[in-house]
């Protein structure tokens, strides 16, 4: 019998210590989600499958599995290396329907689909929404976005220049949907910051 091994030779390793590395990355994501706009360090080093960066790969390994459909944006929808890697390590179903995806990987934030085209949850189950994993080149501390809301004592300031110009306006609409809405994990190479649906972003 022939066993299909297409592409598997190209699959790079996952965490060197799956249990503790995943815990450490989750801990960073949880801190970032509970303190929106505070930048957390991802210390785990991975051979991330192209074109994903290190933080994106770490977050996917930590959160995705066969129970959580993953949507890929146009840029990576054809990236066989990444898709084989996701299938091999996470068994996450890769879906073309972002309105039902638990997670969405956006590697080209400039052409990110409108936020309201992802799963937004329902009034009764607002948790049935998409978490966007957005790959950015950098997250700037003390940047031009002024964040406020739960998890923030007074103000947090960050910025990512990779996102499209109308992101702030889209985010305002997303926030108005509360308790529905999407949550965002911004992933630079070894840094992450989270934007849960509660956070208010103003250009400052």
């Amino acid at each position: 019998m022939q066993i299909a091994t297409t592409g598997l030779g190209a699959v790079s390793p996952g965490f060197s210590d799956p249990v503790h590395d995943a815990q450490s990355v989750f801990s960073a994501v949880m801190r970032a989600m509970s303190r929106p706009g505070r930048i957390e360090q991802i210390n785990e080093r991975l051979e991330a499958p192209s074109p994903a960066n290190n933080a994106v790969a770490a977050v996917i390994l930590t959160l995705c599995d066969h129970d959580s459909p993953l949507w890929l944006d146009e840029t990576v929808a054809g990236a066989e290396e990444l898709k084989s890697w996701v299938r091999f390590h996470c068994s996450a179903p890769i879906t073309g329907d972002r309105a039902t995806a638990d997670f969405a990987l956006v590697t080209n934030p400039q052409s990110m689909p409108d936020l309201d085209t992802f799963a937004l949850g329902t009034d009764e189950f607002p948790d049935r929404s998409t978490t966007l994993i957005v790959q950015v080149s950098s997250i700037l501390e003390n940047g031009g976005w002024v964040l406020s809301g739960p998890g923030i004592e007074s103000k947090h300031k960050i910025r990512s220049d990779d996102l499209s110009a109308d992101f702030i306006a889209q985010w305002r609409s997303n926030r108005e949907l509360f308790p529905r809405g999407v949550d965002v994990i911004l992933c630079a190479e070894d840094r992450i910051a989270c934007l849960p649906r509660t956070v208010k972003i103003e250009e400052g």
Binding site: Q23, M30, D102, P126, D127, P150
Partner: protein, 292 residues
């Protein structure tokens, strides 16, 4: 044979942890909303903190320091049993000192000392649905949360006043989180409700039997429900001080000390009381310390 080899780190398998971790992130993003999760059977009965244990097992790392309290005390059965569980399955360091801990799991008090940004407090929750005793149907309570229809809860508090002359609910006192969701703060004495408001630490709530996880992020508004003419107030013990350390502004346990009607009040938070005694504070019945 080494016992710890029998289990994955912190008992739960990795897929279960991922499922719980996803629920925790959603809970943080929607403060006060109860996220359903696929609660597992744990090697302890429901009611012993299976929800809290699953949350702690999913967030704990090998460098974490765990404090486990049952009411305020580190020394009571539930706390000792669950601390032992994590020492065995995760091999993590445990402590009784509030300030030393990175994760505090509690049933159900919040320590007297202020918690910090670097800490997480995990609550064991028996009945997560604040409206459950008013409306038994999950389909209905879910709709009530969706529509923000909380009039029934105010009726309950009003009936308290009509019957007792004051709001007699003294624990599991309903709160409103971020002006949206009404939440049951687990059967925490209402004395601790004000501590939830804008707490620096992340609060996670796990209900194992009822399969719900919810959260309050740091610095989030948490308001105890009340009426303008019957404002929320916490328990008070006039003219009472801790028999061991002399503290007054704390939550008290009443302890029977002998068979002849002898009794004393002492701090419910055992670590707080020990620290005060170590710092030289003393109450009127210090010789009872060994008994308590």
């Amino acid at each position: 044979m080494k016992q710890e080899n029998f289990y994955n780190f912190a008992y739960l398998d990795e897929q279960t942890k991922r499922m719980i971790r996803r629920a925790i992130l959603k809970a943080i993003a929607i403060p006060g909303y109860q996220v359903p999760f696929a609660s597992r059977e744990m090697p302890m009965p429901y009611g012993w903190g299976t929800g809290g244990v699953q949350v702690t097992a999913s967030i704990i790392g090998k460098d974490d320091v765990l404090k486990m309290i049952d009411q305020g005390s580190d020394d009571t059965t539930n706390a000792v049993a669950l601390r032992g569980f994590f020492e065995l399955t995760a091999g993590v360091e445990s402590t009784t000192e509030t300030s030393e801990a990175s994760i505090i799991q509690t049933r159900h008090r919040i320590p007297e000392d202020d918690l910090t940004e670097d800490q997480v407090i995990v609550f064991q929750v028996p009945i997560p649905e604040p409206l459950r005793f008013l409306e038994p149907r999950e389909t209905e309570t879910r709709k009530m949360h969706a529509l923000e229809e909380y009039g029934l809860m105010h009726v309950k508090l009003y009936e308290d006043i009509a019957t007792h002359g004051h709001i007699a609910t003294s624990y599991a006192y309903p709160v409103k989180v971020m002006d949206r969701y009404v939440m049951d703060p687990s059967p925490t004495p209402k004395f601790d409700n004000p501590k939830m408001h804008k707490m620096a630490a992340l609060q996670l709530y796990g209900a194992g039997r009822e399969k719900r996880i919810y959260a309050i992020p740091p610095y989030t508004d948490v308001v105890s429900l009340d009426f303008e003419d019957y404002p929320f107030s916490v328990q008070e013990w006039p003219d009472t001080e801790c028999g061991l350390c002399g503290a007054t502004e704390v939550y008290f346990d009443e302890v029977v000390t002998d068979d002849h009607g002898g009794r004393m009040f002492c701090c419910s938070d055992s670590d707080y009381c020990e620290k005060r005694r170590a710092a030289g504070h003393t109450g009127k019945q210090p010789d009872q310390a060994a008994e308590v």
